[in-house]
């Protein structure tokens, strides 16, 4: 086993070793002396109703939360967000292009069938099959898995995908270019296996509770659309002995005030979010129940560089400099959000960029610089800068837009028109480029900078298409081909520096994930940046 040094370095730095025996601690690890409650049932708020529990049909966070309890991929995550073995006990690569995964022999489906390499071959092929029409099939393309792109485009058969079952318990993946963080990417929902015989037997109906077969720590026992999903432990799960909870319930509650009320009435143990307008009161009255952690997301305004006035770099810089991010993070939001000066949030693993020059100035200096730039661009009191800011209808976005609009007005005399649109209308307007400035945000799919930097690539129809920088795209290419962790990080920093120089976006703040968590809930992943809270790691402490 000739392991690649870089991968080894990466994995070691993630706190991993390669021996299977050192991975025992991945189910609920109840600290010694903890008295467990007699009733081990957990109720989680889960935002909106899930679109599906088929990993190849979904793209949202609520779906991912549910699926991660029902299915287990090659790798999973610990409470700190480190990648740890899932169905694969170990893996190796020589060149970051060919990865060999050794699957554990005791992994089973909830009907007792063994989980084999063939299941992963079938599932990965299904994810890129045009007939499946998975909205996240592009994720496999992003891993550069051999032929993924051509299969999605219908140019090649799905059997040509770079995956192979060498034997029942050895699974091989071939990539087109080296991707050192490939293993980490395998923790994503889209990479979960599905049970071939069940999918083929029931077709679209395979996800119904009565038909569902999974390999995760839990199986679904009841699903009432728009009310709840209930799960019980999967007795065939290879590590079921360590599962403490006897029942997990997910409630789709879009209204965070309603969710908070049900938490306060003692009906929910863990909420999906906290209503912003109630945060201060909750902090005062229920401080013990507030759980706040960094989140892998950035809030920003996108500027359309192909349209006036933002085709002028000076104007883009001026409006960016004039945003007082500290005031927004501390006073307007106040849950612990951090000001953002780059697209990639600081919480991303191994990501420690040098702040751009403007971030090091005081707000007063930034404002002075902004005024100067705007005057140079030909705008002044007689000829004020005018533009419209698009955002999707929401109280929070409105509050921010009003505050930032008044900062612009006060500092630069800018006249900004606020334009709110309902979500799907906003998406269409934005994606078609019919905007001057628009609110946007992105949350990472995996804990590595490329999940953010890829957003600004010229062919990315969401972000980069309104920017289109050959220099930026060249840096992406270099980062993909780079075999050194250090060099790759440097390229990401260079991309961030370029974004600060060209200012196609105004980074505003870095998210936090705040929720109400009953203090009797143990095993919550307080430091998992992707907010992956596997129920198998959780338990209820006796009051």
């Amino acid at each position: 086993m000739n392991k690649n040094k870089i991968t080894k370095a990466l994995l070691v730095s993630l706190g991993l070793t390669f021996s299977a025996t050192s991975f025992n601690a991945i189910a609920a690890d109840v600290p010694a002396g903890t008295k467990l409650a007699a009733k081990q049932e957990l109720v989680k708020g889960n935002g909106s109703e899930v679109a599906s529990i088929d990993p190849h049909k979904t793209q949202g966070v609520p779906e991912s939360n549910v699926i991660l309890d029902l299915l287990e991929g090659l790798v999973t995550q610990d409470a700190e967000g480190n990648t740890i073995p899932g169905v694969a006990e170990s893996w190796e690569t020589t060149d970051n292009k060919t990865f060999t995964f050794h699957l554990r022999k005791n992994a089973k489906w909830s009907n007792g069938d063994p989980v084999t390499a063939h299941d992963f071959v079938y599932s990965f092929q299904r994810a890129v099959d045009p007939a499946t029409a998975s909205p996240y099939s592009w994720y496999l393309d992003m891993t550069t898995m051999l032929n993924a792109s051509d299969i999605i485009a219908g140019k090649k058969d799905k059997s040509t995908l770079g995956v192979k079952a060498i034997d029942d318990y050895t699974f091989e993946v071939k990539l087109a270019t080296p991707v050192p963080y490939f293993v980490m990417m395998m923790g994503h929902t889209t990479m979960m296996p599905v049970h071939q015989a069940t999918v083929e037997k029931y077709g679209e109906q395979w996800t119904k509770p009565e038909n569902f077969v999974g390999n995760g720590a839990f199986v679904m026992s009841k699903w009432v659309v728009n009310e709840r999903i209930e799960m019980t432990p999967n007795k065939y799960y290879w590590d079921n002995d360590k599962t403490v909870l006897t029942k997990v319930t997910y409630l789709p509650l879009e209204n965070y005030v309603a969710e908070m009320n049900r938490f306060l009435a003692g009906e929910i143990d863990m909420t999906y979010d906290v209503p912003n307008e109630h945060f201060k009161r909750l902090k005062k009255e229920h401080a013990e129940s507030l759980a706040i952690k960094g989140d892998l997301c950035t809030y920003y305004y996108s500027l359309n560089t192909h349209k006036p006035p933002f085709d002028d770099l000076r104007v883009r810089k001026a409006v960016s400099y004039a945003v007082d991010r500290d005031v927004i993070a501390k006073f307007l939001l106040g849950k612990g959000e951090k000001p953002a000066y780059g697209l990639t949030p600081e919480i991303v693993a191994h990501f420690d960029p040098v702040l751009p020059p403007y971030a090091k100035l005081t707000q007063k200096e930034r404002n002075a610089e902004a005024k100067k730039l705007l005057e140079e661009a030909g705008y002044n009191a007689a000829n004020p800068l005018k533009f419209s800011l698009l955002y999707n209808t929401s109280e929070n976005h409105k509050k921010l837009a009003v505050a930032i609009g008044s900062m612009w007005k006060k500092t630069l005399g800018v006249e900004v028109t606020l334009e709110n649109q309902e979500w799907k209308t906003y998406l269409e307007t934005k994606n078609q480029g019919n905007f001057q400035a628009a609110r946007a945000s992105w949350c990472g799919d995996y804990n590595e900078a490329s999940t953010f930097t890829s957003l600004m690539e010229g062919n990315n129809t969401t972000g980069g298409v309104h920017y289109k920088s050959a220099e930026y795209d060249k840096l992406t290419e270099q980062a993909i081909l780079s075999t050194s962790e250090e060099e790759r990080q440097k390229l990401y920093y260079a991309q961030e520096a370029l974004l600060a120089k060209d200012m196609p976006i105004i980074p505003i703040y870095q998210y936090v994930k705040a929720r109400l968590l009953n203090p009797h809930v143990g095993g919550y992943a307080h430091h998992n940046a992707e907010d992956k809270n596997y129920s198998k790691n959780m338990y209820i402490i006796a009051d």
Partner: protein, 306 residues
Amino acid sequence: MFKFILKRVIEAIPTLLVLITVSFFLMRFAPGSPFSSERELPPQVMQNINAKYGLDKPVFEQYTTYLTNVLQGDLGPSFKYQDFTVNELVVAALPVSAKIGAFAFIFALVCGVAIGTIAALKQNTWLDYGLMSTSMLGIVMPSFVLAPVLIYIFSIGLGWFPAGGWFDGSLKYMVLPVLGMAMMYVATFARITRGSMIETLNSNFIRTARAKGLSFSYIVLRHALKPAMLPVVSYMGPAFVGIITGSVVIETIFGLPGIGKLFVNAAFNRDYSLVMGITILIGLLFIVFNAIVDILLAYVDPKIRY
């Protein structure tokens, strides 16, 4: 009567057809698609999805296909809730709204008529003013204010009833949603009953009955109540449909798996087939309930005969 029902059925067909056609095209021309998301999907991926759902075909062809399927009772797969068909979703959600709605409706009708009658009989007394101003409060206090107040008092404060959930419609989960939904209609029914009752009591035939020396309670129950119910009955149809379809606020606040929430989410998600399915259903409900109201009116009012 049979002729009347037959006429109503025949009339319903073009109404439904227009409804389906208009909403189908309105939905398709609304900006955004069921599959648009924060990170726009690559064109190849989008093409695969469109092909799977037949969205790559010309709109008119999609329309005829849809119409053919609807005629066979198939409302198609949901675009958002991909593990379910529209038929399955509607069949699961309708009974929830219907059950809550029926309870709220009966509660509103009984309380409303009783309050309205009492107020009319005690016209211009403190009781009348008290009842009517309270019912005014019921009308102006929207359910999105009333429901959280109920939760705050009875769930968080007293802990008597759960703050949400359905649990297959067990009674204790229904109390607060029913109250939250019914209050507005109690008030409306009370005001309609009061007005109509006062008018009836002042009419000539009541004066004749009084002149005949009949007791007042006999006059009210035997002669006044039935004609006074006419506007109430007319309001029952729209009230019932309103309770069922307008239940989105209550369903959202109490986390109930009903049709109102499904409908609103479907519109936000551009879930074409689900929006269409529920639109057709609501259209049908309107037609059926208006027909029932017409039959009831014929029973109550001897001047109307079909």
